[in-house]
């Protein structure tokens, strides 16, 4: 029999005893729905975790530290290092060398310091971080109000939300970060001027002074002692224009962690602000070239992190990346998905017994019909295929309905969870994800399970002796 005729005949037969067949189909639907619901939950949770980690910017970042700082993350690195003093300095030439690695997109120094800002003559003390232009495309700044820096050394500033609230005298309680929309905070602040007071580190007087960036005003010499310390510290002020307010969580794992004010990286570098590491340098002999405490290296793809780490270690620095942490995370989710899938499949297995039952019943009921079909020329194969087609049709139908049902169940669970989260004063989250491959796979799976369930009934129907089948009324 031709496939089209077969399908048509099968669907026709299914319509005939519609109550029983639709009950069986609902059984399959529930099985598929539970499978889809379980797997979607697993995938959704994994996506949620990955999203959190990805927005931290650490998936494609290697953090480089100098071994002489004794701040390496790995004890092995420290032990294997001959002597801290012999190690390389993490300075500009090292940065350029790292940036030249084929897999590296860019390498930039991690500049951060605590300093005072004045806004409408009130002092505010906070952590400042320089961020590279590439951060514009990073989703860490996706929730920004206003705009990103116009250039890499523009006298502009982006504020973290809680600092913006502080400037406006609107205290934000912990856990209530989402109470005030970012837009509301940004409105009165965007375009305003903010004054940053900071301590500039100058080379010894014998060398030329650093170039003074635009907008820099007063310079008050203080604490200058060229004979003892190898550099001078000058208090300066820098006027900055507020161009953006970000909703970035200050505690997120981004490179600029805990900073609440962001400057363009080049501007931050040119200011030569005293760095915490400078104090340590001052204990030793001073070099003309400044060194960095850490350098962040952005890698083209997370897959190349390991290669980059190896290359940088060969150059004589310590490295750290989150790669190992995420590997175990992925493993955890793979196992979670597996278990959720097994539980989901159990329901489908129960449903498949329903298919076997329905089809075996159909054979008893349609014994005579099978006999007639054989008497008028249906081959064993025709009868077998017909029962197969009926099982398959129930499977596909059950699969489609089941996917829709599973999607709906997931939606309801997600909604319920978010209501719960809201009560706990937590931001809503999407735990739920039904990717297209899951939709397709679930329907195909239901189809295959149904065909397997139809194996025995179909074979039994095909074996039926027409003389016997036609003898009884």
């Amino acid at each position: 029999m031709k496939t089209y005729d077969l399908t048509e005949l099968a669907l026709r037969n299914l319509r005939e005893s519609s109550l029983r067949n639709s009950l069986t189909t609902i059984g399959i639907s529930v099985g598929v729905a539970s499978l889809v619901a379980m797997l979607s939950l697993g995938i959704g949770l994994q996506k949620l975790a990955s999203r959190r980690l990805a927005s931290s910017g650490l998936f494609d970042t290697v953090v480089v530290t100098s071994r002489r700082d004794l701040r390496g993350f790995s004890r092995d690195d420290e032990r294997n290092t001959a002597s801290a003093a012999e190690s390389r300095r993490l300075d500009e030439s090292a940065r350029q060398e790292i940036e030249r690695l084929p897999e590296a997109l860019e390498a930039y120094p991690d500049i951060r310091f605590v300093t005072e800002f004045r806004y409408q003559d009130k002092p505010h003390l906070t952590m400042v971080s320089g961020i590279p232009a590439s951060a514009r495309s990073n989703d860490a700044f996706s929730g920004i109000q206003g705009s990103f820096f116009s250039s890499e050394d523009a006298p502009e500033v982006i504020l973290q939300k809680s600092f913006a609230a502080e400037l406006l005298d609107q205290a934000i309680q912990p856990g209530q970060e989402d109470a005030i929309p970012v837009a509301q905070l940004a409105k009165p602040l965007l375009g305003q001027e903010l004054t940053m007071r900071y301590a500039e580190r100058l080379p010894p007087p014998s060398t030329e002074g650093a170039t003074v960036p635009a907008g820099q005003t007063a310079a008050l010499k203080e604490n200058e002692n060229p004979s003892e310390a190898a550099y001078s510290v000058i208090s300066r002020e820098q006027k900055l224009k507020i161009v953006g307010v970000s909703d970035l969580d200050p505690d997120s794992m981004r490179g600029a962690a805990r900073a609440r004010v962001f400057l363009p990286l080049k501007l931050a570098e040119h200011l030569h602000v005293m760095q915490p590491s400078d104090l340590r340098d001052s204990m030793r002999s001073f070099n003309k070239q400044p060194s960095y405490s850490t350098i962040s290296v952005r890698v083209k793809s997370p897959k190349q992190i390991e290669a980059v780490e190896q290359a940088i270690k060969k150059l004589g620095f310590n490295t750290f990346s989150i790669l190992d942490a995420t590997r175990s995370l992925r493993q955890f989710f793979a196992v979670l998905d597996l278990f959720l899938g097994i539980f989901g499949s159990l329901a489908l297995a129960v449903a498949s017994i329903g298919i076997v039952n329905t089809l075996v019943m159909a054979i008893l009921e349609r014994r005579r019909e099978i006999g007639i079909m054989k008497a008028i020329g249906a081959s064993d194969g025709d009868v077998k295929k017909l029962f197969f087609a009926e099982a398959g049709a129930m499977g596909v139908l059950g699969g489609v309905v089941g996917v829709a049902l599973g999607w709906a169940i997931g939606h309801v669970i997600n909604l319920g969870t978010n209501v719960y989260l809201k009560r706990q004063a937590l931001p809503p989250e999407n735990f739920w994800s039904v990717p297209w491959w899951l939709v397709g796979a679930a329907i195909i799976f239901a189809f295959v399970v149904s065909l397997v369930s139809g194996l025995y009934p179909a074979a039994r129907a095909a074996r039926l002796d027409p003389v016997q089948a036609l003898r009884y009324e």
């Binding site: 029999m1 031709k2 089209y4 005729d5 005949l9 026709r12 037969n13 005939e16 005579r368 019909e369 006999g371 007639i372 079909m373 054989k374 008497a375 008028i376 020329g377 249906a378 081959s379 064993d380 194969g381 025709d382 027409p466 003389v467 036609l470 009324e473």
Partner: protein, 254 residues
């Protein structure tokens, strides 16, 4: 004017089917039932044969063997130079589909399908093109006078109408042999005659070989040109019936 007027078609014509010492035994409890026990017979192409006997004489079992629904325990049933006993299940199904058509005492229409679908069913198994099927099914139903009933279900029809639909279904794949198992057994004599007239018309206008099982001797004498008698699975008589032969359907209708 009819095929019967050509004697070569009967006496010296080629064989439609041949049974050689065919047996069908099956166990029932302790005893062995000899439903068909060493029957040999030949039916020529275009012949109208009646198998007569009381119930349990083995006439229906013999018909099932000829129909390829059952296999003989021993012996051979040869149709178109092929021994049905040697055919595979697949080949046997194809034989039932193309070479023979069958009608039964209880009509055996698929109750869940309309008449048109019932008549169409053998064409589906024969993989006839869709575009041809509708027309052929309608034509076949019109031929048996059911043109206006194509979309009815068997349960909505009288017994005679159901048997006419079964005849249309049996003929739809243009078989060479029509096998009828008590085709009038469930019908009153008037509708029974109607059905028999149709069968005779197929025999005469299509030159179709007819093998009909019946226990009504009168019916056989009126329509069949040859009567074969069975008892206890054995052939006990085989006689021509020239009386039936010359009455054509058209003359009767007039």
């Amino acid at each position: 004017m009819s095929v019967d007027s050509d004697p070569s078609n009967h006496q010296s014509g080629r064989l439609a089917l041949r049974a050689v010492e065919v047996c069908r035994h099956y166990p029932m409890g302790e005893t062995l039932i000899r439903a068909v026990d060493g029957v040999s017979l030949e039916v020529r192409a275009g012949e109208f044969v009646a198998l007569l006997g009381s119930s349990g004489s083995g006439k229906s079992s013999l018909l099932n063997l000829i129909a390829g629904l059952d296999r003989p325990t021993s012996g051979a049933v040869i149709v178109e130079d092929r021994d049905l006993a040697q055919l595979s299940r697949q080949e046997l199904a194809k034989y039932r589909l193309r070479t023979v058509g069958m009608v039964f005492q209880s009509f055996n229409l698929v109750s869940r399908m309309t008449l048109e679908e019932n008549v169409e069913l053998p064409m589906r198994f024969a993989e006839v093109e869709r575009s041809q099927r509708d027309g052929r099914a309608r034509q076949a139903l019109e031929r048996v006078g059911l043109g206006g009933r194509a979309t009815h279900r068997p349960s909505q029809l009288s017994g005679g109408e159901q048997q006419r639909a079964a005849l249309a279904r049996a003929l739809i794949n243009q078989p060479k042999i029509l096998l009828a198992d008590e085709p009038t057994g469930n019908l009153d004599s008037r509708t029974g005659t109607e059905i028999m007239d149709f069968i005779r018309e197929f025999n005469q206008s299509l030159a179709m070989t007819i093998v009909m099982v019946t226990h009504e001797r009168a019916l056989a004498e009126r329509y069949a040109e040859r009567m074969i008698f069975l008892a206890d699975g054995k052939l006990i008589g085989d006689q021509p019936n020239p009386a039936a032969v010359n009455t054509s359907v058209r003359e009767q209708r007039r």
